[in-house]
Symmetry: C2
Subunit: 324 residues, 2 copies
């Protein structure tokens, strides 16, 4: 299938074409990269826009259940929902946080939903580019909401926030008044905190935890892209499907405000610049992975290790050989 045809089918909402295109952007082959590039430019021309919602939560907070309940609620409102996972750890474990669709059984059976497991990649930079392009593909295929899920591992949260319009942090009710050791850096990128499991015995704890986070969020420095009452914390129960409409209402209200104020588009443009710079850094460093580069570095490294050459001078020597 050529790019024009693939593009047309995606724009027509053909799910098999979408899946195929995602496989294409996930490919490491050089000719595939060129095709993927052409496809992305072609689809960008269509100008379709979904709401890209990043979602992070450590195992145990009920993320799968939340995505399922939240996704079903959106579908019930007539919206089309895509779920993608960004999982930098899957390279090591060989597995995937969205390993199979049984995690979201109901949602995966919906015709208006599309669930794509995360690819096994061995490079975070590669994961990022591919995931971001997969998001844009879902957008072109006519999905209204693209949920980009990640576990809180290393820099995956920052990465997902850098490809989302909104970033949600899903947390569990905390015993005591400690804030579950949520890293300040993560708090600072969250647009909304959702305290899940606000049901049964945990309901009161969830409410208290939510108040704690509300307080913590108010202490953070105000960001220009936030209206007065954001970022905010809410309680939800994915299990009892409670609070999901309210949370969705808040997301829409935030996204709407950002659209009106110009922050929405400005953010997407900033993200494109960010990922472009990342792509360049990635390509530049990839030049160190050729057989010549590896061999030459090994020879020079020995000379440096033996104290025969200075590290800076040897590095310059290498870079000259590299053609830099």
């Amino acid at each position: 299938m050529d790019i024009a045809e693939l593009s047309d089918r995606i724009l027509n909402g053909d799910r098999r074409a979408l899946a195929r295109a995602i496989t294409l952007v996930e490919s490491g082959r050089k000719d595939h990269r060129a095709l993927a590039d052409a496809l992305m430019v072609k689809l960008a021309g269509a100008g379709r826009q979904a709401l890209r919602v990043g979602l992070s939560g450590t195992p145990g907070v009920g993320k799968s259940t939340f995505i399922e309940s939240f996704g079903m609620m959106l579908v019930a409102q007539g919206l089309k929902v895509a779920v993608l996972a960004v999982d930098p750890s899957s390279a090591r474990s060989g597995g995937s946080i969205l390993g199979d669709k049984t995690r979201m059984e109901r949602l995966s059976r919906e015709r208006s939903a599309f669930i794509r497991p995360s690819p096994s990649q061995n490079h975070l930079g590669g994961v990022a580019r591919r995931s971001r392009e997969a998001v844009a593909l879902c957008e072109a295929a006519g999905f209204d909401v693209v949920l980009i899920e990640t576990v809180g591992v290393g820099q995956s949260e920052t990465m997902v926030a850098e490809m989302a319009d909104l970033f949600l942090l899903l947390l569990a009710p905390a015993g005591g008044d400690e804030l579950q050791g949520v890293k300040r850096g993560i708090m600072e990128i969250a647009d909304m905190i959702l305290v899940n499991k606000a049901d049964g015995d945990l309901k009161a704890t969830a409410t208290r935890t939510c108040a704690d986070y509300s307080g913590a969020l108010r202490l953070l420095r105000k960001r220009p892209q936030d209206p007065d009452d954001f970022p905010k914390a809410l309680t939800v129960s994915a299990l009892e499907e409670a609070g999901l409409e309210a949370a969705w209402g808040e997301m829409q209200s935030l996204a709407g405000w950002r659209r009106e104020q110009g922050h929405f588009e400005a953010n997407r443009a900033r993200q494109a610049r960010h990922w472009f710079a990342e792509e360049i850094r990635h390509s530049l460093l990839a030049r160190l992975e050729t057989p010549w580069a590896r061999d030459r570095m090994a020879v020079l490294a020995d000379e440096v290790a033996e104290g025969r050459r200075g590290i800076g001078e040897a590095a310059q020597d290498f870079l000259t050989g590299l053609g830099s």
Copy 2:
């Protein structure tokens, strides 16, 4: 002063020459870099070797007091001790974890001790290269032990471990049985854990904490560079100057074993290779910081942000222009 003279003076243990050389390696100027390189090669030829001891501990564990007491104990044994700080956060705060010498008043007055505050740098890579060269300079100046201190911020601990022969983690007694949230990655690079404040009311807690860490260390995967009983945890009291000789004995015993087994030299060679590769990556990415590169990236990034060009193709265009 030329490099030959500077080198001679350092080898003669001239402290002012040492301080001057450290300022030279800390300089970002290109001509200074070349001089620093020449100096490092010259001094490496002398083949002097100190024991490089990395030390990490978050604020509040009594790190300054420990360094002072431990340093004084070494000095009393007739050893020369240098203390360097690696503080990637100082760039932001403008301050320095070794801001002045009043933190280690007694040690700073000792003729056999040399204390150097961390430079304010704005790049972790730069900090690393400079710190590592400062360590080598102290070594050449005849110091027997070089303590490389860091706070547990971001990747500074891994960085310090990569320039040390031994890596110590200084911890405070923990209330309860939780292990103070010490990151597993940090546990895995520690050769010894020292539980400080094993004095007064905290003595029993320190002993219990130490036992907890001993247990945790035993659960880690065995590393080839460790004899059977390492890594290990010990209690010390920097305040009462207790346990310091025992800790030093353990350090010597570990270093001795590693020397006999060839791990000591192998580790240093591996570190040199690591820093050489880092230097190359750093130099390569520095090419993106020229005015031409910044301007060109900005133009292309706009085209990418507007969806007019593919990210991969635009990146290739940029790299071609860069001469890569």
